[in-house]
C-alpha cells in the first residue's frame, strides 16, 4: 500500500515538476493569435459541433449490452478456479447469444452505404 501511494505520488511529482520547470524556464510572449482555438491556421469560426452518424450508435449499443456480460464472465472464470459443466454451459450459451446477436445485426450496422 505504501509502495502504491509512493508510485502514484512520485509519478505525479515527476510529471508536475516537468510542467512547472517548463513553465518557469520557457520564454513567454503571449499573443492573442496563439491563445485562440486551433483551426488549422484560420481564425476560429462556428461552434465545436460535428455530425455523428446513427450507424455508430449501433456499435455503442452493442458494446454496452455485451461488455457487462463479458465482465460477468471474468467473475465466473475467477469464481472457484474450476470449470464445472454448468459453468461451461452457461458461458457457451452466453457466447452463442452474443454471436447470434452480432451476426443478426452487424451487417445492417456496418453497411456504410445505407447510413451515409
Amino acid at each position: 500500500m505504501i509502495a502504491f501511494a509512493l508510485f502514484l505520488v512520485l509519478l505525479a511529482i515527476a510529471l508536475g515538476a516537468l510542467v512547472l520547470v517548463g513553465y518557469l524556464l520557457a520564454p513567454k510572449s503571449p499573443h492573442v493569435a496563439k491563445e485562440r482555438r486551433f483551426e488549422a491556421g484560420n481564425p476560429p469560426f462556428g461552434e465545436v459541433k460535428r455530425r455523428l452518424l446513427m450507424q455508430y450508435v449501433g456499435y455503442i449499443y452493442m458494446v454496452t449490452a455485451i461488455e457487462a456480460s463479458a465482465g460477468l464472465m471474468v467473475v465466473v472464470a475467477l469464481w472457484r478456479g474450476v470449470v464445472s459443466l454448468d459453468v461451461a454451459l452457461a458461458l457457451a450459451t452466453a457466447l452463442a447469444l452474443i454471436a447470434i446477436y452480432v451476426v443478426r445485426y452487424l451487417e445492417k450496422v456496418a453497411d456504410v452505404k445505407k447510413w451515409s
Binding site: 509519478l11 515527476a14 516537468l18 456499435y59 452493442m62 463479458a70 475467477l78 458461458l91
Partner: protein, 325 residues
C-alpha cells in the same frame, strides 16, 4: 505464500516496473521506433545528436526542446482542466502496471485478483482521454475523442474475452500464481487468445493499422491537438506508457512472465526481454501498414476479432475438459 519484503515492493514502485521503468521505456521506445522505421524505409533515422551511439539521445534532446518551448494555454478552455487532464491521463495509463508482478516479489500492489484489476484499469484509460479531448474544446479533438470512443467499442469485448479465456485456463488472476502455473506458456496453450489479445493491444495503443484517433493527415493530432510544450509530452507520451503496461500484462499472461528465472534480478531482466519482444513489433507496424477508416476498424473488431476471441474462450473450455491443464 508471497515472497515479500518491505523493500522489494518499494523497489518495484521506484525502479521496475515503476517510475524509472516507465520513463526509461518512453526514451527507448521513441528512439527504437524512429530507428526501426527508418531502417525499413532505407533511412538512417536520428543521428544528429550523439552519432556514436546511433542517435540514442535524440528523445532526450526532444524533451529539452519541448521543455523550453512556450506553454500556451488557449483562452477558450477551462485552464485548470486543460492543465490537469494530461497529468491524470498519464497516471491512468501507468496505473495497470501497479497490479502486475514483473519478477518474484517485484510488484507494487499485490492483490489476488491483480490481473483482472489491471485489465479493467486499462479499459478505463479511454475515459480520461475523452475527458482531456473534451476539455480542449476543439473541432479536431472532438473528432479524435469520438474516434477513440468508437475504437474502444471495437476492441473492449475481444480484449475482455481473451482475458476470460486465459483466466479459465489458470483458474486465478493472482499475478504470481498465473506465472507459476505456466509450465507451458499461455501463448502455446491458447494461441487464439494471444492473437486476440495482441490485436486488441494494437488497437488500444492506437498503433498503426488502427492509428485512427490521432490520424495526422486527417485530424492534426486528434485528442492531442491543442497541447504543446511539456503538456504535449504528458498527453502524447502517455500512449507509450499504455504500450508498456500492455506489454507487461501480455508477458505475464502469455509468455510465462519471469520464467525460467527464479530470483528477482534475473527475473526482471527476463521480463524486460519478453516485454521488448511484445512491444517492438508494434513499433514497426507504422512502416508496414496503411490506416483503416473507423468504420472498417469497427467492422473488423466486431466480426473477425470477436469471432477469434469467442473461439479462444471455447478452446479454453475444451482444454479444461480435456484435462490438458
Amino acid at each position: 505464500m508471497m515472497p515479500f519484503e518491505l523493500s522489494s515492493d518499494l523497489v518495484a514502485a521506484l525502479v521496475f516496473p515503476g517510475v524509472l521503468g516507465i520513463l526509461g521505456f518512453l526514451v527507448v521506445a521513441i528512439w527504437a521506433e524512429r530507428k526501426l522505421v527508418a531502417r525499413i524505409q532505407w533511412r538512417y533515422g536520428p543521428l544528429y545528436v550523439s552519432k556514436a551511439i546511433g542517435g540514442f539521445l535524440q528523445p532526450i534532446a526532444d524533451l529539452v526542446k519541448l521543455v523550453f518551448s512556450e506553454l500556451v494555454l488557449p483562452r477558450h478552455t477551462n485552464r485548470a482542466l486543460f492543465l490537469s487532464t494530461p497529468l491524470a491521463l498519464f497516471i491512468a495509463e501507468a496505473l495497470p502496471v501497479a497490479f502486475i508482478a514483473a519478477a518474484p516479489g517485484l510488484i507494487i500492489f499485490y492483490n489476488p485478483h491483480g490481473l483482472a484489476i489491471a485489465v479493467v484499469l486499462w479499459l478505463l484509460v479511454a475515459v480520461f482521454l475523452v475527458g482531456m479531448a473534451w476539455s480542449e474544446a476543439d473541432k479536431f479533438t472532438y473528432i479524435g475523442a469520438m474516434r477513440e470512443i468508437l475504437l474502444s467499442a471495437a476492441y473492449e469485448i475481444p480484449l475482455l474475452l481473451s482475458l476470460v479465456a486465459m483466466l479459465l485456463l489458470y483458474g486465478t488472476a493472482d499475478p504470481y500464481r498465473v506465472v507459476e502455473l505456466q509450465n507451458v506458456w499461455g501463448v502455446l496453450l491458447n494461441p487464439l487468445a494471444f492473437l486476440a489479445f495482441y490485436i486488441s493491444l494494437v488497437m488500444s495503443t492506437t498503433r498503426f493499422p488502427f492509428e485512427i484517433p490521432e490520424a495526422e493527415p486527417e485530424v492534426v493530432l486528434g485528442p492531442y491537438t491543442e497541447y504543446g510544450s511539456t503538456l504535449f509530452i504528458l498527453s502524447f507520451g502517455g500512449t507509450y506508457v499504455k504500450l508498456y503496461a500492455g506489454a507487461l500484462l501480455g508477458s505475464v499472461l502469455f509468455l510465462g512472465g519471469w520464467q525460467p528465472a527464479v530470483d528477482t534480478l534475473s527475473g526482471a531482466l527476463v521480463t524486460i526481454a519478453k516485454m521488448a519482444a511484445l512491444a517492438f513489433p508494434l513499433l514497426i507496424l507504422r512502416a508496414i501498414y496503411p490506416r483503416y477508416r473507423i468504420d472498417q476498424a469497427l467492422r473488423f473488431g466486431w466480426s473477425k476479432l470477436l469471432a477469434l476471441s469467442i473461439a479462444a474462450v471455447i478452446f479454453s473450455i475444451a482444454l479444461r475438459f480435456a484435462g490438458v491443464i
